[in-house]
Protein backbone atom coordinates (compact mmCIF):
# COMPACT_ATOMS: atom_id res chain seq x y z
CA UNK A 1 0.00 0.00 0.00
CA UNK A 2 2.85 2.27 0.92
CA UNK A 3 4.67 1.56 -2.35
CA UNK A 4 1.46 2.21 -4.32
CA UNK A 5 1.06 5.56 -2.66
CA UNK A 6 4.61 6.63 -3.41
CA UNK A 7 4.18 5.54 -7.05
CA UNK A 8 1.09 7.70 -7.27
CA UNK A 9 2.99 10.62 -5.75
CA UNK A 10 5.84 10.09 -8.18
CA UNK A 11 3.52 10.16 -11.17
CA UNK A 12 1.87 13.28 -9.76
CA UNK A 13 5.28 14.96 -9.48
CA UNK A 14 6.07 13.87 -13.03
CA UNK A 15 2.81 15.34 -14.29
CA UNK A 16 3.39 18.63 -12.46
CA UNK A 17 6.92 18.89 -13.91
CA UNK A 18 5.51 18.12 -17.36
CA UNK A 19 2.80 20.72 -16.79
CA UNK A 20 5.34 23.42 -15.90
CA UNK A 21 7.57 22.40 -18.79
CA UNK A 22 4.76 22.48 -21.36
CA UNK A 23 3.60 25.83 -19.96
CA UNK A 24 7.10 27.27 -20.31
CA UNK A 25 7.42 25.88 -23.83
CA UNK A 26 4.11 27.20 -25.13
CA UNK A 27 4.74 30.62 -23.56
CA UNK A 28 8.14 30.86 -25.24
CA UNK A 29 6.60 29.64 -28.50
CA UNK A 30 4.01 32.39 -28.14
CA UNK A 31 6.82 34.96 -27.92
CA UNK A 32 8.45 33.40 -30.99
CA UNK A 33 5.26 33.46 -33.06
CA UNK A 34 4.62 37.07 -32.01
CA UNK A 35 8.00 38.02 -33.46
CA UNK A 36 7.12 36.63 -36.88
CA UNK A 37 5.64 39.39 -38.99
CA UNK A 38 2.73 38.22 -41.07
CA UNK A 39 1.92 40.01 -44.29
CA UNK A 40 -1.36 41.86 -44.58
CA UNK A 41 -3.01 43.55 -47.54
CA UNK A 42 -3.97 47.08 -46.48
CA UNK A 43 -7.65 47.66 -46.86
CA UNK A 44 -8.44 44.11 -47.92
CA UNK A 45 -11.42 44.04 -45.57
CA UNK A 46 -13.37 46.22 -48.03
CA UNK A 47 -14.44 43.09 -49.86
CA UNK A 48 -16.56 41.93 -46.95
CA UNK A 49 -19.14 44.65 -47.22
CA UNK A 50 -22.31 43.79 -49.10
CA UNK A 51 -25.01 46.28 -50.01
CA UNK A 52 -26.63 47.97 -47.00
CA UNK A 53 -30.09 47.27 -48.34
CA UNK A 54 -29.55 43.52 -47.92
CA UNK A 55 -27.27 43.80 -44.93
CA UNK A 56 -30.06 45.40 -42.91
CA UNK A 57 -32.03 42.15 -42.97
CA UNK A 58 -29.06 40.19 -41.70
CA UNK A 59 -28.70 42.31 -38.57
CA UNK A 60 -31.84 40.98 -36.85
CA UNK A 61 -32.88 44.39 -35.63
CA UNK A 62 -29.39 45.55 -34.72
CA UNK A 63 -28.79 47.64 -37.81
CA UNK A 64 -27.80 50.71 -35.75
CA UNK A 65 -25.08 48.74 -34.04
CA UNK A 66 -23.79 47.46 -37.35
CA UNK A 67 -23.87 51.01 -38.72
CA UNK A 68 -21.75 52.10 -35.73
CA UNK A 69 -19.28 49.29 -36.30
CA UNK A 70 -18.93 49.92 -40.03
CA UNK A 71 -18.60 53.64 -39.37
CA UNK A 72 -15.82 53.04 -36.84
CA UNK A 73 -14.16 50.66 -39.26
CA UNK A 74 -14.52 53.19 -42.11
CA UNK A 75 -12.75 55.85 -40.06
CA UNK A 76 -9.81 53.49 -39.53
CA UNK A 77 -9.91 52.50 -43.20
CA UNK A 78 -9.72 56.08 -44.41
CA UNK A 79 -6.92 56.86 -41.97
CA UNK A 80 -4.63 54.38 -43.72
CA UNK A 81 -3.16 56.20 -46.67
CA UNK A 82 -1.25 53.14 -47.91
CA UNK A 83 -4.43 51.59 -49.33
CA UNK A 84 -4.46 51.89 -53.11
CA UNK A 85 -7.69 53.23 -54.69
CA UNK A 86 -9.12 53.70 -51.21
CA UNK A 87 -11.77 56.15 -52.41
CA UNK A 88 -13.17 53.80 -55.03
CA UNK A 89 -15.75 52.40 -52.60
CA UNK A 90 -16.27 55.56 -50.55
CA UNK A 91 -19.85 56.06 -51.72
CA UNK A 92 -20.61 52.37 -51.30
CA UNK A 93 -19.31 52.26 -47.71
CA UNK A 94 -21.09 55.40 -46.56
CA UNK A 95 -24.30 54.52 -48.36
CA UNK A 96 -24.31 51.25 -46.37
CA UNK A 97 -23.94 53.13 -43.10
CA UNK A 98 -26.67 55.59 -44.17
CA UNK A 99 -28.90 52.71 -45.19
CA UNK A 100 -28.41 50.87 -41.92
CA UNK A 101 -29.01 53.93 -39.78
CA UNK A 102 -30.47 56.83 -41.78
CA UNK A 103 -30.74 59.09 -38.74
CA UNK A 104 -27.08 58.66 -37.79
CA UNK A 105 -25.85 62.15 -38.74
CA UNK A 106 -22.07 61.93 -38.29
CA UNK A 107 -21.43 59.56 -41.20
CA UNK A 108 -23.01 62.02 -43.69
CA UNK A 109 -20.83 64.79 -42.36
CA UNK A 110 -17.61 62.74 -42.20
CA UNK A 111 -18.27 60.97 -45.52
CA UNK A 112 -18.72 64.33 -47.22
CA UNK A 113 -15.53 65.73 -45.64
CA UNK A 114 -13.53 62.71 -46.88
CA UNK A 115 -15.09 62.97 -50.35
CA UNK A 116 -14.54 66.73 -50.62
CA UNK A 117 -11.11 67.19 -49.08
CA UNK A 118 -9.41 63.78 -49.25
CA UNK A 119 -10.84 62.29 -52.44
CA UNK A 120 -11.30 65.69 -54.13
CA UNK A 121 -14.71 64.55 -55.38
CA UNK A 122 -17.14 67.40 -54.71
CA UNK A 123 -19.98 65.71 -56.59
CA UNK A 124 -19.76 62.75 -54.25
CA UNK A 125 -19.61 65.02 -51.20
CA UNK A 126 -22.78 66.77 -52.38
CA UNK A 127 -24.40 63.40 -53.12
CA UNK A 128 -23.74 62.21 -49.54
CA UNK A 129 -25.05 65.47 -48.09
CA UNK A 130 -28.12 65.36 -50.35
CA UNK A 131 -28.78 61.87 -49.03
CA UNK A 132 -28.44 63.20 -45.50
CA UNK A 133 -30.99 65.93 -46.17
CA UNK A 134 -33.38 63.59 -47.93
CA UNK A 135 -33.47 61.27 -44.91
CA UNK A 136 -33.25 64.02 -42.31
CA UNK A 137 -35.21 66.97 -43.75
CA UNK A 138 -35.04 68.81 -40.42
CA UNK A 139 -31.23 69.02 -40.52
CA UNK A 140 -30.10 72.40 -41.87
CA UNK A 141 -26.47 71.29 -41.43
CA UNK A 142 -26.40 69.20 -44.62
CA UNK A 143 -27.49 71.88 -47.12
CA UNK A 144 -25.34 74.37 -45.22
CA UNK A 145 -22.24 72.14 -45.60
CA UNK A 146 -23.10 71.44 -49.24
CA UNK A 147 -23.34 75.19 -49.90
CA UNK A 148 -20.06 75.76 -48.10
CA UNK A 149 -18.25 73.08 -50.16
CA UNK A 150 -19.74 74.37 -53.42
CA UNK A 151 -18.64 77.91 -52.57
CA UNK A 152 -15.21 77.21 -51.10
CA UNK A 153 -13.99 74.30 -53.23
CA UNK A 154 -15.64 74.75 -56.63
CA UNK A 155 -16.34 78.47 -56.38
CA UNK A 156 -19.80 77.60 -57.69
CA UNK A 157 -21.62 80.51 -56.05
CA UNK A 158 -24.93 79.85 -57.79
CA UNK A 159 -25.04 76.25 -56.52
CA UNK A 160 -24.00 77.49 -53.09
CA UNK A 161 -26.97 79.91 -53.09
CA UNK A 162 -29.34 77.04 -53.82
CA UNK A 163 -28.03 75.00 -50.91
CA UNK A 164 -27.99 77.97 -48.51
CA UNK A 165 -31.56 78.75 -49.54
CA UNK A 166 -32.56 75.16 -48.69
CA UNK A 167 -30.84 75.47 -45.30
CA UNK A 168 -32.59 78.82 -44.62
CA UNK A 169 -35.97 77.18 -45.12
CA UNK A 170 -35.30 74.78 -42.26
CA UNK A 171 -36.25 75.73 -38.74
CA UNK A 172 -33.42 76.45 -36.33
CA UNK A 173 -30.90 77.50 -38.94
CA UNK A 174 -28.32 79.93 -37.46
CA UNK A 175 -28.22 83.51 -38.88
CA UNK A 176 -24.76 82.98 -40.38
CA UNK A 177 -26.30 80.87 -43.16
CA UNK A 178 -28.28 83.87 -44.38
CA UNK A 179 -25.12 85.97 -44.40
CA UNK A 180 -23.28 83.26 -46.37
CA UNK A 181 -26.20 83.21 -48.77
CA UNK A 182 -25.94 86.97 -49.26
CA UNK A 183 -22.18 86.65 -49.75
CA UNK A 184 -22.70 83.92 -52.37
CA UNK A 185 -25.10 86.25 -54.24
CA UNK A 186 -22.47 89.00 -54.14
CA UNK A 187 -19.76 86.63 -55.38
CA UNK A 188 -21.97 85.53 -58.27
CA UNK A 189 -21.88 89.26 -59.19
CA UNK A 190 -25.61 89.81 -58.75
CA UNK A 191 -24.92 93.10 -56.93
CA UNK A 192 -28.48 94.40 -56.89
CA UNK A 193 -29.83 91.30 -55.17
CA UNK A 194 -26.79 91.13 -52.88
CA UNK A 195 -27.41 94.73 -51.80
CA UNK A 196 -31.04 94.02 -51.14
CA UNK A 197 -30.28 90.85 -49.13
CA UNK A 198 -27.59 92.52 -47.01
CA UNK A 199 -29.92 95.43 -46.42
CA UNK A 200 -32.56 93.02 -45.10
CA UNK A 201 -29.94 91.41 -42.87
CA UNK A 202 -28.93 94.84 -41.59
CA UNK A 203 -32.49 95.85 -40.86
CA UNK A 204 -33.42 92.62 -39.11
CA UNK A 205 -30.13 92.20 -37.19
CA UNK A 206 -30.67 91.72 -33.49
CA UNK A 207 -27.24 92.74 -32.28
CA UNK A 208 -24.67 95.37 -33.08
CA UNK A 209 -22.04 92.88 -34.22
CA UNK A 210 -24.25 91.55 -37.02
CA UNK A 211 -25.33 95.08 -37.91
CA UNK A 212 -21.67 96.02 -38.25
CA UNK A 213 -20.93 92.96 -40.41
CA UNK A 214 -23.93 93.75 -42.65
CA UNK A 215 -22.91 97.39 -42.80
CA UNK A 216 -19.39 96.47 -43.95
CA UNK A 217 -20.81 94.20 -46.64
CA UNK A 218 -23.18 96.94 -47.78
CA UNK A 219 -20.23 99.31 -47.93
CA UNK A 220 -18.27 96.78 -49.98
CA UNK A 221 -21.13 96.13 -52.42
CA UNK A 222 -21.82 99.82 -52.93
CA UNK A 223 -18.11 100.47 -53.42
CA UNK A 224 -17.87 97.62 -55.95
CA UNK A 225 -20.84 99.01 -57.92
CA UNK A 226 -19.49 102.59 -57.76
CA UNK A 227 -15.91 101.68 -58.64
CA UNK A 228 -17.15 99.61 -61.58
CA UNK A 229 -19.15 102.62 -62.78
CA UNK A 230 -16.20 105.01 -62.31
CA UNK A 231 -13.81 102.58 -64.08
CA UNK A 232 -16.13 102.43 -67.09
CA UNK A 233 -16.21 106.24 -67.20
CA UNK A 234 -12.40 106.39 -66.90
CA UNK A 235 -12.07 103.97 -69.85
CA UNK A 236 -14.36 106.15 -71.97
CA UNK A 237 -12.37 109.26 -70.93
CA UNK A 238 -9.13 107.56 -71.92
CA UNK A 239 -10.57 106.52 -75.28
CA UNK A 240 -11.47 110.09 -76.07
CA UNK A 241 -8.45 111.96 -74.64
CA UNK A 242 -5.79 109.27 -74.75
CA UNK A 243 -4.93 109.74 -71.08
CA UNK A 244 -6.38 109.21 -67.57
CA UNK A 245 -8.26 112.15 -66.05
CA UNK A 246 -6.25 114.30 -63.61
CA UNK A 247 -9.07 113.99 -61.07
CA UNK A 248 -12.39 112.17 -60.88
CA UNK A 249 -14.46 115.38 -61.13
CA UNK A 250 -13.25 115.67 -64.76
CA UNK A 251 -15.44 112.62 -65.51
CA UNK A 252 -18.54 114.61 -64.46
CA UNK A 253 -17.43 117.72 -66.36
CA UNK A 254 -16.77 115.66 -69.49
CA UNK A 255 -20.26 114.13 -69.18
CA UNK A 256 -19.21 110.54 -68.49
CA UNK A 257 -20.82 110.60 -65.04
CA UNK A 258 -23.93 112.42 -63.84
CA UNK A 259 -22.41 112.93 -60.41
CA UNK A 260 -19.38 111.63 -58.58
CA UNK A 261 -20.37 108.68 -56.39
CA UNK A 262 -19.30 108.67 -52.76
CA UNK A 263 -18.82 105.66 -50.46
CA UNK A 264 -21.39 104.58 -47.88
CA UNK A 265 -19.78 106.85 -45.30
CA UNK A 266 -20.07 109.84 -47.67
CA UNK A 267 -16.34 109.97 -48.37
CA UNK A 268 -14.78 110.29 -51.82
CA UNK A 269 -13.02 107.38 -53.45
CA UNK A 270 -9.26 107.58 -53.78
CA UNK A 271 -8.04 108.01 -57.32
CA UNK A 272 -4.52 107.52 -58.73
CA UNK A 273 -4.25 109.62 -61.92
CA UNK A 274 -1.01 107.88 -62.94
CA UNK A 275 -2.45 104.34 -62.99
CA UNK A 276 -6.14 105.18 -63.30
CA UNK A 277 -6.85 103.04 -60.25
CA UNK A 278 -9.83 103.82 -58.00
CA UNK A 279 -10.15 102.40 -54.49
CA UNK A 280 -12.07 102.91 -51.30
CA UNK A 281 -10.68 105.36 -48.73
CA UNK A 282 -10.77 102.59 -46.15
CA UNK A 283 -10.63 98.77 -46.20
CA UNK A 284 -14.32 97.77 -45.85
CA UNK A 285 -13.63 95.23 -43.07
CA UNK A 286 -11.69 97.81 -41.02
CA UNK A 287 -14.36 100.49 -40.87
Amino acid sequence: MKIFKSEKDLSAIFLVVLLILSCGIFMSLKIKTDNISREKIPGSSIIYIPSGQYLKYATFGNSSLLADLIYIWAIQYYSDYTIPDMYEYLDHIFSIINELDPSYLDPYDVGAVIAAYEAGDLDLALKILDRGLERNPEQWLFPYLAGHYAQMINKDHKLAQEYYKKAMDIEGVPPIVRRLYADAIFKSMDYKRALQTWLEIYETAKDERVKKIASNHLYNIKATIDIKKINEAIEKFKERYGRYPMELSQLVRAGFLDSLPKDLDGKEYIYNSRTGEVKTPIIPWKR
Binding site: L18, S22, K32, I47
Partner: protein, 254 residues
Protein backbone atom coordinates in the same frame (compact mmCIF):
# COMPACT_ATOMS: atom_id res chain seq x y z
CA UNK B 1 -4.10 -0.43 -26.79
CA UNK B 2 -6.37 0.61 -23.94
CA UNK B 3 -6.33 4.22 -25.19
CA UNK B 4 -7.11 3.03 -28.72
CA UNK B 5 -10.04 0.91 -27.50
CA UNK B 6 -11.54 3.84 -25.55
CA UNK B 7 -10.89 6.17 -28.47
CA UNK B 8 -12.68 3.92 -30.94
CA UNK B 9 -15.54 3.46 -28.52
CA UNK B 10 -15.79 7.23 -28.02
CA UNK B 11 -15.75 7.70 -31.80
CA UNK B 12 -18.57 5.15 -32.26
CA UNK B 13 -20.57 6.85 -29.54
CA UNK B 14 -19.94 10.32 -30.96
CA UNK B 15 -21.03 9.53 -34.50
CA UNK B 16 -24.36 8.38 -33.12
CA UNK B 17 -24.95 11.78 -31.52
CA UNK B 18 -27.65 13.73 -33.35
CA UNK B 19 -26.21 17.10 -32.40
CA UNK B 20 -23.19 16.30 -34.56
CA UNK B 21 -25.32 15.94 -37.66
CA UNK B 22 -27.33 19.00 -36.80
CA UNK B 23 -24.15 21.05 -36.65
CA UNK B 24 -22.90 19.42 -39.84
CA UNK B 25 -26.14 20.36 -41.54
CA UNK B 26 -25.87 24.01 -40.41
CA UNK B 27 -22.23 24.12 -41.46
CA UNK B 28 -23.21 22.87 -44.91
CA UNK B 29 -26.00 25.45 -45.09
CA UNK B 30 -23.58 28.23 -44.13
CA UNK B 31 -21.01 27.12 -46.69
CA UNK B 32 -23.66 27.02 -49.42
CA UNK B 33 -25.11 30.33 -48.17
CA UNK B 34 -21.72 31.91 -48.93
CA UNK B 35 -22.65 31.55 -52.60
CA UNK B 36 -25.69 33.79 -52.03
CA UNK B 37 -23.71 36.23 -49.92
CA UNK B 38 -21.14 36.47 -52.69
CA UNK B 39 -23.86 37.70 -55.05
CA UNK B 40 -24.50 40.69 -52.82
CA UNK B 41 -20.96 41.89 -52.60
CA UNK B 42 -18.91 44.39 -54.55
CA UNK B 43 -15.70 42.81 -55.86
CA UNK B 44 -14.30 39.28 -55.79
CA UNK B 45 -17.06 36.74 -55.16
CA UNK B 46 -14.83 33.69 -54.76
CA UNK B 47 -13.06 35.44 -51.91
CA UNK B 48 -16.36 35.72 -50.04
CA UNK B 49 -17.07 32.03 -50.61
CA UNK B 50 -13.62 31.09 -49.30
CA UNK B 51 -13.87 33.38 -46.28
CA UNK B 52 -17.35 32.31 -45.27
CA UNK B 53 -16.53 28.67 -45.96
CA UNK B 54 -13.36 28.63 -43.87
CA UNK B 55 -15.05 30.55 -41.07
CA UNK B 56 -17.92 28.05 -41.09
CA UNK B 57 -15.43 25.20 -40.84
CA UNK B 58 -13.71 26.85 -37.90
CA UNK B 59 -16.87 27.96 -36.12
CA UNK B 60 -18.92 24.78 -36.49
CA UNK B 61 -15.87 22.64 -35.79
CA UNK B 62 -15.38 24.57 -32.55
CA UNK B 63 -19.08 24.15 -31.67
CA UNK B 64 -18.81 20.39 -32.28
CA UNK B 65 -15.69 20.19 -30.11
CA UNK B 66 -17.31 22.19 -27.33
CA UNK B 67 -20.78 20.66 -27.34
CA UNK B 68 -19.52 17.10 -27.56
CA UNK B 69 -16.32 17.48 -25.56
CA UNK B 70 -18.05 18.98 -22.54
CA UNK B 71 -20.27 15.92 -22.16
CA UNK B 72 -17.55 13.33 -22.66
CA UNK B 73 -16.60 12.63 -19.05
CA UNK B 74 -19.73 14.07 -17.47
CA UNK B 75 -21.98 11.58 -19.28
CA UNK B 76 -19.91 8.67 -17.97
CA UNK B 77 -20.22 9.99 -14.43
CA UNK B 78 -23.90 10.86 -14.81
CA UNK B 79 -24.83 7.45 -16.23
CA UNK B 80 -22.55 5.78 -13.68
CA UNK B 81 -20.74 3.88 -16.45
CA UNK B 82 -17.52 5.35 -15.07
CA UNK B 83 -17.63 2.76 -12.23
CA UNK B 84 -17.42 -0.09 -14.71
CA UNK B 85 -14.51 1.54 -16.49
CA UNK B 86 -12.37 2.57 -13.54
CA UNK B 87 -12.87 -0.78 -11.85
CA UNK B 88 -10.95 -2.29 -14.79
CA UNK B 89 -7.12 -2.28 -14.86
CA UNK B 90 -6.93 1.06 -16.61
CA UNK B 91 -5.23 4.30 -15.63
CA UNK B 92 -7.30 7.41 -15.48
CA UNK B 93 -4.98 9.22 -17.91
CA UNK B 94 -5.59 6.38 -20.38
CA UNK B 95 -9.32 6.88 -20.03
CA UNK B 96 -8.99 10.64 -20.63
CA UNK B 97 -6.59 10.30 -23.54
CA UNK B 98 -8.88 7.70 -25.10
CA UNK B 99 -11.80 10.11 -24.83
CA UNK B 100 -9.67 12.93 -26.26
CA UNK B 101 -8.41 10.96 -29.27
CA UNK B 102 -11.87 9.54 -29.90
CA UNK B 103 -13.36 13.01 -30.20
CA UNK B 104 -10.38 14.27 -32.20
CA UNK B 105 -10.98 11.43 -34.68
CA UNK B 106 -14.67 12.37 -34.88
CA UNK B 107 -13.81 16.01 -35.49
CA UNK B 108 -11.28 15.00 -38.13
CA UNK B 109 -13.95 13.07 -40.04
CA UNK B 110 -16.45 15.94 -39.69
CA UNK B 111 -13.86 18.47 -40.83
CA UNK B 112 -13.16 16.30 -43.87
CA UNK B 113 -16.86 16.21 -44.73
CA UNK B 114 -17.26 19.98 -44.33
CA UNK B 115 -14.05 20.58 -46.31
CA UNK B 116 -15.37 18.44 -49.12
CA UNK B 117 -18.53 20.56 -49.42
CA UNK B 118 -16.49 23.75 -49.17
CA UNK B 119 -13.84 22.75 -51.72
CA UNK B 120 -16.51 21.47 -54.09
CA UNK B 121 -18.20 24.88 -53.96
CA UNK B 122 -14.87 26.63 -54.60
CA UNK B 123 -14.16 24.21 -57.45
CA UNK B 124 -17.56 25.00 -58.94
CA UNK B 125 -16.44 28.65 -59.23
CA UNK B 126 -12.76 28.40 -60.06
CA UNK B 127 -12.56 24.97 -61.74
CA UNK B 128 -9.32 24.31 -59.88
CA UNK B 129 -8.61 22.45 -56.68
CA UNK B 130 -6.98 24.96 -54.39
CA UNK B 131 -4.60 22.81 -52.42
CA UNK B 132 -3.40 25.66 -50.23
CA UNK B 133 -6.86 25.63 -48.63
CA UNK B 134 -5.80 22.43 -46.91
CA UNK B 135 -3.14 24.37 -44.99
CA UNK B 136 -5.83 26.63 -43.52
CA UNK B 137 -7.99 23.58 -42.78
CA UNK B 138 -5.06 21.76 -41.11
CA UNK B 139 -4.59 24.66 -38.72
CA UNK B 140 -8.31 24.74 -38.04
CA UNK B 141 -7.88 21.10 -37.03
CA UNK B 142 -5.07 22.02 -34.60
CA UNK B 143 -7.31 24.67 -33.11
CA UNK B 144 -10.11 22.13 -32.70
CA UNK B 145 -7.74 19.71 -30.93
CA UNK B 146 -6.88 22.41 -28.40
CA UNK B 147 -10.55 23.31 -27.88
CA UNK B 148 -11.37 19.62 -27.42
CA UNK B 149 -8.76 19.33 -24.68
CA UNK B 150 -10.23 22.38 -22.95
CA UNK B 151 -13.77 21.01 -23.21
CA UNK B 152 -12.51 17.72 -21.79
CA UNK B 153 -10.83 19.52 -18.89
CA UNK B 154 -14.05 21.31 -17.92
CA UNK B 155 -16.01 18.12 -18.41
CA UNK B 156 -13.93 16.53 -15.64
CA UNK B 157 -15.34 18.74 -12.90
CA UNK B 158 -18.34 20.66 -14.24
CA UNK B 159 -21.76 20.21 -15.82
CA UNK B 160 -22.05 20.30 -19.63
CA UNK B 161 -23.79 23.70 -19.64
CA UNK B 162 -21.15 25.37 -17.51
CA UNK B 163 -18.38 23.55 -19.35
CA UNK B 164 -19.79 24.79 -22.67
CA UNK B 165 -19.84 28.36 -21.37
CA UNK B 166 -16.26 28.06 -20.08
CA UNK B 167 -15.07 26.51 -23.33
CA UNK B 168 -16.82 29.18 -25.39
CA UNK B 169 -15.13 31.79 -23.21
CA UNK B 170 -11.81 30.08 -23.90
CA UNK B 171 -12.56 30.25 -27.63
CA UNK B 172 -13.46 33.95 -27.44
CA UNK B 173 -10.44 34.78 -25.29
CA UNK B 174 -8.24 32.83 -27.67
CA UNK B 175 -9.37 34.95 -30.60
CA UNK B 176 -9.33 38.30 -28.84
CA UNK B 177 -6.32 38.04 -26.51
CA UNK B 178 -4.17 39.91 -29.02
CA UNK B 179 -5.99 43.04 -27.88
CA UNK B 180 -4.04 42.82 -24.62
CA UNK B 181 -0.93 43.84 -26.53
CA UNK B 182 -2.40 47.30 -27.08
CA UNK B 183 -3.18 47.57 -23.39
CA UNK B 184 0.34 46.47 -22.44
CA UNK B 185 1.81 49.25 -24.59
CA UNK B 186 -0.15 51.80 -22.55
CA UNK B 187 0.72 50.43 -19.11
CA UNK B 188 3.76 52.16 -17.53
CA UNK B 189 6.69 49.80 -16.76
CA UNK B 190 6.34 48.05 -13.41
CA UNK B 191 4.57 45.15 -11.74
CA UNK B 192 1.31 45.82 -13.60
CA UNK B 193 3.02 45.67 -16.97
CA UNK B 194 4.89 42.46 -16.07
CA UNK B 195 1.68 40.84 -14.88
CA UNK B 196 -0.15 41.90 -18.03
CA UNK B 197 2.71 40.57 -20.18
CA UNK B 198 2.71 37.23 -18.35
CA UNK B 199 -1.05 37.00 -18.74
CA UNK B 200 -0.75 37.86 -22.41
CA UNK B 201 1.76 35.07 -23.01
CA UNK B 202 -0.18 32.60 -20.88
CA UNK B 203 -3.63 33.16 -22.39
CA UNK B 204 -4.39 30.99 -25.42
CA UNK B 205 -3.71 32.65 -28.75
CA UNK B 206 -5.96 30.88 -31.22
CA UNK B 207 -4.98 33.44 -33.84
CA UNK B 208 -1.80 31.38 -34.17
CA UNK B 209 -3.92 28.84 -36.02
CA UNK B 210 -5.66 31.42 -38.14
CA UNK B 211 -4.07 31.45 -41.57
CA UNK B 212 -7.36 31.91 -43.36
CA UNK B 213 -6.77 35.49 -44.56
CA UNK B 214 -3.24 34.82 -45.79
CA UNK B 215 -4.26 31.66 -47.62
CA UNK B 216 -7.30 33.23 -49.26
CA UNK B 217 -5.36 36.30 -50.33
CA UNK B 218 -2.33 34.29 -51.43
CA UNK B 219 0.03 36.07 -49.08
CA UNK B 220 3.45 34.71 -48.17
CA UNK B 221 3.55 32.97 -44.81
CA UNK B 222 6.96 32.46 -43.19
CA UNK B 223 7.64 28.72 -42.79
CA UNK B 224 8.63 29.21 -39.14
CA UNK B 225 5.11 30.56 -38.51
CA UNK B 226 3.74 27.14 -39.47
CA UNK B 227 6.29 25.29 -37.35
CA UNK B 228 5.91 27.41 -34.22
CA UNK B 229 2.12 27.41 -34.51
CA UNK B 230 2.00 23.62 -34.73
CA UNK B 231 4.37 23.30 -31.75
CA UNK B 232 2.36 25.90 -29.85
CA UNK B 233 -0.81 23.92 -30.49
CA UNK B 234 0.77 20.63 -29.40
CA UNK B 235 2.27 22.01 -26.18
CA UNK B 236 -0.80 24.01 -25.19
CA UNK B 237 -2.97 20.93 -25.76
CA UNK B 238 -0.53 18.86 -23.71
CA UNK B 239 -0.64 21.47 -20.94
CA UNK B 240 -4.45 21.41 -20.79
CA UNK B 241 -4.57 17.61 -20.95
CA UNK B 242 -2.12 17.34 -18.02
CA UNK B 243 -4.35 19.62 -15.94
CA UNK B 244 -7.34 17.48 -16.96
CA UNK B 245 -5.49 14.33 -15.86
CA UNK B 246 -4.50 15.94 -12.54
CA UNK B 247 -8.09 17.05 -11.91
CA UNK B 248 -9.53 13.71 -12.93
CA UNK B 249 -7.08 11.83 -10.67
CA UNK B 250 -8.33 13.85 -7.71
CA UNK B 251 -11.96 12.88 -8.31
CA UNK B 252 -13.34 10.29 -5.98
CA UNK B 253 -16.01 8.06 -7.50
CA UNK B 254 -16.34 5.59 -4.68
Amino acid sequence: MKIKAIALNTFKEAIRDRILYLLLFFAAVCIIFSRLLALLTVGDRVKIIKDVGLTSLSLFGALMAILMGTGLVFKEIDKKTIYTIISKPIHRYQFLLGKFFGLVLTLFIMLLLMSFIFLALVFFHTFTIEWEMFVAILFIFFELCLITSVALLFSCFSTPILSSIFSLAFYLIGHTAWGLETLIKKIPPGLGKTLAQTLYHFLPDLENFNFKTEIVQHLDIPSEAFLYSILYGIFYTLFVLIIAVLVFRKRDFI
